[in-house]
C-alpha cells in the first residue's frame, strides 16, 4: 500500500474545481458561445454549440450521406462543412481517456433484456429530442439564447423526472413488501 501523497493547495483546489459539475456547466456555456462566434459562417442553426442528440444525428446522418450517398436531413453547419460535427466522438474519446487515466474503466455486462430496454430507450429519446430540436443540453443553450419554448421543455422535463422518480419509488416499495 502506497501512502497517499500530500498535495499542494493549488492542486487540491484545481482537482476540486474540475470535479465539480457547476464548473463544467459554466465551461460548456462559454465554449458553446465561443464555437458559435467562431463557426457560424459555415451555417446555422444558432445556439448549436453542444448537443448530444443533435450532434449524434448530424454525425450518423452526415457520415451515412457521405458513405452511402443518401440524402438524410441534417443541420446546415454539418451539411456545409467537409465533415459533420464531431463533438460526440470527442465526448466518447475524452471520457474513455479520463476513465483509463483515473483507473475507472471497467467492463460492465448485463442481461439481453436490459440491452434491449436501453436500445429502445436511446431510440425513443432521440425521436423525442429531435422533435423538440435538441437534447437537455441544447435546451439549456437555447434558454440562455432567449428561446421560450426551450424553457417550456426544461420545465416539463423536470416534471417528467418527478413522475419517473415517483414510479421508481412505488416500484421499490412494492418489491419490499
Amino acid at each position: 500500500m502506497i501512502p497517499p501523497q500530500p498535495i499542494g493547495p493549488i492542486r487540491h483546489y484545481t482537482s476540486m474545481l474540475i470535479r465539480h459539475p457547476a464548473f463544467l456547466g459554466a465551461l460548456i456555456g462559454i465554449l458553446a458561445a465561443f464555437s458559435q462566434a467562431l463557426l457560424i459562417s459555415a451555417g446555422g442553426p444558432e445556439a448549436y454549440g453542444f448537443c448530444v442528440a443533435c450532434h449524434t444525428r448530424d454525425l450518423v446522418n452526415g457520415m451515412t450521406n457521405i458513405i452511402a450517398d443518401t440524402n438524410l436531413a441534417l443541420a446546415p453547419i454539418s451539411k456545409n462543412a467537409i465533415l459533420p460535427v464531431m463533438s460526440v466522438v470527442g465526448v466518447l474519446i475524452g471520457a474513455f481517456l479520463s476513465a483509463k487515466v483515473n483507473r475507472e474503466h471497467k467492463i460492465k455486462r448485463d442481461t439481453t433484456r436490459a440491452y434491449l430496454v436501453y436500445f429502445l430507450g436511446g431510440f425513443l429519446v432521440l425521436q423525442l429530442a429531435m422533435l423538440f430540436g435538441g437534447c437537455p443540453y441544447r435546451a439549456a443553450l437555447r434558454t440562455g439564447y432567449g428561446d421560450g419554448t426551450a424553457l417550456v421543455f426544461i420545465i416539463t422535463m423536470a416534471l417528467g423526472v418527478v413522475a419517473g422518480t415517483l414510479l421508481m419509488l412505488k416500484r421499490a416499495e412494492r418489491e419490499e413488501t
Binding site: A22, L92, A99, F132, A150, G160
Partner: protein, 174 residues
C-alpha cells in the same frame, strides 16, 4: 446570413476539428464530475442534493453570459440574440422540423420534454451520462448510444415527415 470570426472557406474545414476538441474536453470533465442534467433534477427531488443540479443551472446561466459576451465582441455571429426580444419569444430557434406555427413547437417542447425526463430517469441518466458510461465500459450505455444512432437515421427517414404531416392535419401548418 450570420458571419463569424472565421470566413466560410476556413470555417467549413474548422467545424469537425473545433467540435472534436470541444467534445474531448467536455467528455473528459463529464467523466470526472458525473455531469448529468436528469440526475440533477432527480437528486434534488429525492434527497435535496444540489451538487449535480448546479451543473445544469450553471450551464443555463453561463450560456446566457457567454452569448452576451460574444454578442458584444462579435455581434454579426449572434444575429438573433436576444431571441425573445428580436423575434416572437415563443417561436423556436431553428432545429425542429420546419414549416409549422409557433403553437405546434410549444407542443413539440412540452410533450417530448415530459417523456425525455420520464424515460431518462428510469434508465438512470441523460444522453451525455449514457455516452460517458458507454466509454467507461458499461454495455447498457453502449446500447443506449447505438439506439440513438439507429434512431437518428429512422427519424430523418420517417418520423420527422410523420410529425409534420400529423401537425398539419391538425391545423398547425404555417
Amino acid at each position: 446570413m450570420a458571419t463569424g470570426i472565421l470566413p466560410k472557406e476556413i470555417a467549413i474545414y474548422a467545424v469537425p476539428l473545433v467540435t472534436l476538441l470541444l467534445g474531448l474536453l467536455i467528455g473528459y470533465l463529464a467523466q470526472r464530475s458525473g455531469y448529468c442534467s436528469i440526475g440533477g433534477f432527480r437528486d434534488y427531488f429525492l434527497f435535496r442534493h444540489t451538487r449535480i443540479l448546479s451543473g445544469y443551472l450553471s450551464l443555463i446561466v453561463f450560456s446566457f453570459l457567454g452569448y452576451l459576451l460574444f454578442w458584444f465582441l462579435t455581434p454579426a455571429a449572434m444575429e438573433h440574440f436576444f431571441w425573445a426580444l428580436s423575434s416572437d419569444p415563443f417561436s423556436p430557434v431553428p432545429g425542429a422540423p420546419a414549416g409549422l406555427v409557433p403553437a405546434a413547437y410549444l407542443i413539440f417542447a412540452a410533450v417530448p420534454g415530459f417523456f425525455v425526463g420520464f424515460i431518462c430517469v428510469l434508465l438512470g441518466g441523460c444522453p451525455i451520462r449514457q455516452t460517458v458510461m458507454a466509454s467507461e465500459g458499461s454495455y447498457k450505455g453502449g446500447f443506449f448510444f447505438i439506439g440513438m444512432c439507429i434512431g437518428s437515421i429512422f427519424f430523418a427517414a420517417y418520423v420527422s415527415g410523420w410529425a409534420v404531416l400529423l401537425m398539419k392535419s391538425l391545423g398547425f401548418g404555417a
